[in-house]
Structures are given as C-alpha cells and as structure tokens.
Amino acid sequence: MSKINLSVDIAGIKMQNPVTTASGTFGFGLDYLDYFDVNQLGAVVTKTITINRRMGNPPPRIIETPSGLLNSIGLANPGIDEFIQSTLLDLEHIKAPIIVSIAGDTEEEYVELAERLDKVDKIAGIELNVSCPNVRMGGIQFGVCPEQVNRLTKASAAATQKPLIVKLTPNVTDIVEVACAAVEGGARSLSLINTLLGMSIDINKRKPVLANNVGGLAGPAIRPVAVRMVWQVAQAVDVPIIGVGGICDYRDALEFIMAGAASVGVGTWNFVNPTACVDIIEGLRCFCLEQGVKDINELVGCSWK
C-alpha cells in the first residue's frame, strides 16, 4: 500500500488530514471520547465562546426537519474565564490542533477574546464566528455586511498572532463579496457555511416550535447550498477554505474538496454517527488509493481548476 498524503496546511495549522469538527457540534472535544480517539482528527474546532458565560436560549432548542436540523442553542458556553481556567486543562491531552471559535456582541469583545487566546500556547488558531443567527446582539449583524466583516477581521487580526479563520454566514446575497472582505481584513482562512436561518411551526400550538422562533438550519439538507458557496468563494480568494454543511460521509467531503475546500468540518452528522469524522478520514484514504491520488491536495478545487 503506497503512502498517501492526507495532510493539509490551513493558514499555518498543520493538520494530519482535512477533517475537523464544525463549531458547536463537538463541544470542547471531550464529549466523543467514548467513540473514537480525538487525536485522529485533522483539528478540533470548539463550541463558540464569548466573554461572559451564556446560558443560551430557552428550550425547545432543536427540531428535526427533512434531512435537516433546526437549532437555536443561543451560544450556550462557559465564557472565556472558565474556558481558560478549567476547560483548557481538560484539553491538555488532546494532541490534534485546537481551533477556538469566538463571538462577541461588539467589536471590542472579539478583540478582547482574540487577545486573551493569543497568549494560550495550546491553541492553534482562532475562528471568528460572525454568523451565528441565534443571538440577537451577536453574529448576524456582523456577518451579513462586508464592511463590518472587514473591520472586525482587521481588529481581531491585530490582536493575535494566531492564524485567524473567519466563518461566514450563508444568509447573504453575495457570499463572494463577504469572503473577499474577510480576506482583505486579514483572514488567513475561511470557514463556510454556518447555518441557514430557518423556522418551523407547531401547527397544534399554532406557534413556532423553537422558543427563539427562528433557528439555524444544518444537516444534509443544506449541503448543496454549502458546496455552491465553497465553489464560488474558492475561485475568488487565495486562502484555504474549510468546507462545512451537511457532510455525512467521505463522498460529501470530496464534493467540498473538489469544490475548492482544503479542509472540511463535520457538524450535525456527528450526532447521527458519532464516528463520522474517523469514518470520513478512512474513506478519503481509500478513495485516494483507488483513484491513484498521492496527495489529497491535488483534489482541492479540481472541479473547476
């Protein structure tokens, strides 16, 4: 069996393979220890953290839709202090690179989070969540406006030496415009997509199912939208892309890679198949072997290159 290179370099973060966990679907990397060895991952992307602890939205927070999952968790997280004081210690034994996702209500909060994480050796990179549609004061306002994304990225990039990844929201007219704004602002990688803003109504109660009314749609249902956006953005920017949205198996991952993503993030499907990430890594290896691909990087963007 010839040696196949699956390793990729995302903004200076060396990953042994392209498979990462999508923020918010893998906690802080510790919840799946009973299912597989987390060190097999290309990288772990954590749940988004904020300055203060957040309880998140009231339940119900989750509802299934056809091939999709609608959620309004509301950025429930322990806050940066507890993250640094306690969660980080638990992460010590994880050897895979750890990328911490952050979000703030204001530009200053993003900057403060970036600054504080900058000092933490254990952290390989920072992902700006500018796109969470659930918290009224947070995400959505930044992520839909190219100028704001540009400013926010610039400010955050100035606050840290760590590789900065900007995670884009799909709820925009022109994803390429926002992507370029982020890159111009100093994003060394882009992650896309976050969830599509959606809603479900309980016809017996005659009210929205989610206590928060609207939520973010994720899962296989949104994959075609995500692949399209990666395909558009990859042709317009020079930074590596982390493709996210509805990935279930290695075939889905390959769609993103061929569309132009150097790395992929697995989200909702972790819930259905807790070993999805490692199954995908193995699937990618087999595909490369069968098709005579020596280096997975050869496949990145091959559908348009």
Binding site: G24, T25, F26, G27, D31, Y32, L33, D34, Y35, F36, D37, K47, M55, G56, P58, P59, P60, R61, I62, I63, E64, P66, S67, G68, L69, N71, I73, A76, G219, P220, C248, T268, N270, F271, V272, N273, P274, T275
Partner: protein
C-alpha cells in the same frame, strides 16, 4: 445525579451494531425489542437509555432515544419497550429477529440508588413507565421488595403492559383518565394515599408527561419525600455535545440549564424548575 462512567467500554465501545433477538407488538401501539449487547447488559443502570438509528437514511435524520426497559446480564441482553409515535418508531417496529440495529448505549445518568432506600413508589404515565421496569429489577436486586408501581394513561388501551412488573412481585396500581381501567382520574391522585401508607426510607421515582411529573414533585415536596424524575427532551447528540436537550434546573440558588442526555435524564425533583 451522578454521571455515566466515561470510557468504561473503551474507545468505540459505546456505538455498536447489535443483534435484534426479538421485536414484537405486546399491546396496541406498544412494542418490545430485545437486543444482544453484553457490555451494556452488564454495566448499564436503570434510567439510562439507548440512542438508536432507526433507519439508514437522512429522513428521519436523528437517532431516537429509548430507555432501557430490562437488563439481563446473564444472557447479555437488554430490552426496550416502545410506543409507535411517528416515523422513527414505525421504522423500529419493522426490525426482525436477526437484523442489526445501530445503537449508542448506555447514555445518561440513570437513577440514583445510593441513598437509604427501603421501599419505592414508581409512578409512570404512558410510555414513561418503561424505565421503571429496569428500575424495579434493580431495586429487587438490591433486596428492596416493597415496590409499588402506580401506572396511569388516558385509557385502558394506552396503559403499558404490567405483567413484567407483576411477575417481579411489584404491586401494580392503575388509573386511567376515562376510568376504563383502575382508578378514574390521574395516577397522581393515588400518590398521597400511598405515601401515607409508606414508612421511612421510601423514595419516589417517576417518569411521564411533564404535568404528571410536576404533580409528583409537588406532592413529594410537601411530604419531604425524596423523589427522582426522568425527563424528556428531544435528543440529538445524546452525549452532551450540542446543548440541544436542556431543561431548566436550580443549581444552588441560580437557575441554569442542564442537559437531559448527560446530566439527566434523571433529576432530583427539587432541582427541576417548573416555569410555564
């Protein structure tokens, strides 16, 4: 409540394709499925649940959670009792002996049997009675013989089958909203009287619809009787990763959200916040 032991089955051990040993309708919409899974049969506790992938397709998307109904560590088998509600349970009912089912198990914390329990009153509403069977087995195993099962439902045909409880020597008392079997009214109507009969060391365990649990909690609180409740929420990951399944609890004096799949499904009744 105590958390499930981490990693006790080692890496990969908690997800498995397990063999269906039996799967049949026991009554009306209630089905019983028996699975071969020695690791779980040996280690799981009453109140924990399995998380089953009912179908290898993307609709329905999520797994479905089912409480362990019975644990047979000798044969290495577990049982679940389930009610057909929608697509997931419908698909589950199609499994045949010899098929394999993809499950994650055991999940959740389970009932806490560490206190000084001399007798137990189990209160089950509808399919909520399912985990109480495993609990009854467990209590018996610890030599606790005074067990009452107060079981309620809308009507006779919606009462879960109680023959397994009876064979175990559990005292079964029924109530139906329409009076078609047992007491006419709520099963919680009968709880105060039962509690009066009971001595020191009696603990109440309940699972069922939220209004029933609230009533049980209030009755027990008034009499200062320890009470554990098993709650339901839509479960997606089942392992604590997504924060989707929370319920509001009191933690010291502050209110916070706990995950039903990890810190639950069993909660001390005093913890639960009953807003709305």
């Amino acid at each position: 409540m105590g958390q499930a032991p981490k990693c006790f089955l080692g890496v990969n051990g908690m997800k498995a394709n397990v063999k269906v040993m039996a799967n049949f309708r026991v009554k009306e919409n209630y089905y019983l499925m028996e699975l071969q899974r020695p690791e779980v049969a040996k280690n799981a506790r009453a109140g924990q649940f399995i998380h089953a992938r009912c179908k290898d397709s993307k609709d329905p998307l999520l797994r479905r959670p089912f409480s362990i109904y019975s644990l047979d560590s000798d044969k290495g088998r577990i049982k679940i009792l389930y009610e057909i509600k929608g697509m997931g349970t419908e698909l589950l009912s199609k499994y045949k002996e010899g098929d394999f089912l993809d499950i994650m198990a055991p999940l959740g914390n389970g009932f806490n049997l560490e206190g000084n329990i001399s007798s137990a009153i189990l209160v089950g509403g509808g399919i909520g009675g399912a985990p109480l069977m495993a609990l009854a087995e467990s209590l018996k195993g610890r030599g606790i013989n005074r067990i009452y099962f107060l079981v309620g439902a809308q009507s006779k045909d919606k009462l879960i089958p109680t023959v397994d409880f009876e064979s175990l020597g559990v005292n079964v008392i029924t109530a139906t909203d329409d009076g078609s079997e047992g007491h006419r009214g709520y099963i919680t109507d009968l709880l105060p009287m039962k509690l009066k009969e009971s001595s020191e060391g009696c603990t109440v365990f309940a699972c069922g619809p939220r209004p029933m649990l609230k009533a049980v909690a209030q009755i027990c609180a008034r009499k200062n009787i320890p009470c554990q409740l098993s709650l339901e929420e839509i479960i997606s990951c089942g392992v604590g990763a997504c924060q989707g399944c929370v319920c509001k609890v009191k933690d010291n004096d502050t209110e916070t959200y706990h995950r039903v799949c990890l810190e639950g499904p069993v909660f001390d009744s005093g913890e639960v916040v009953w807003d709305v």
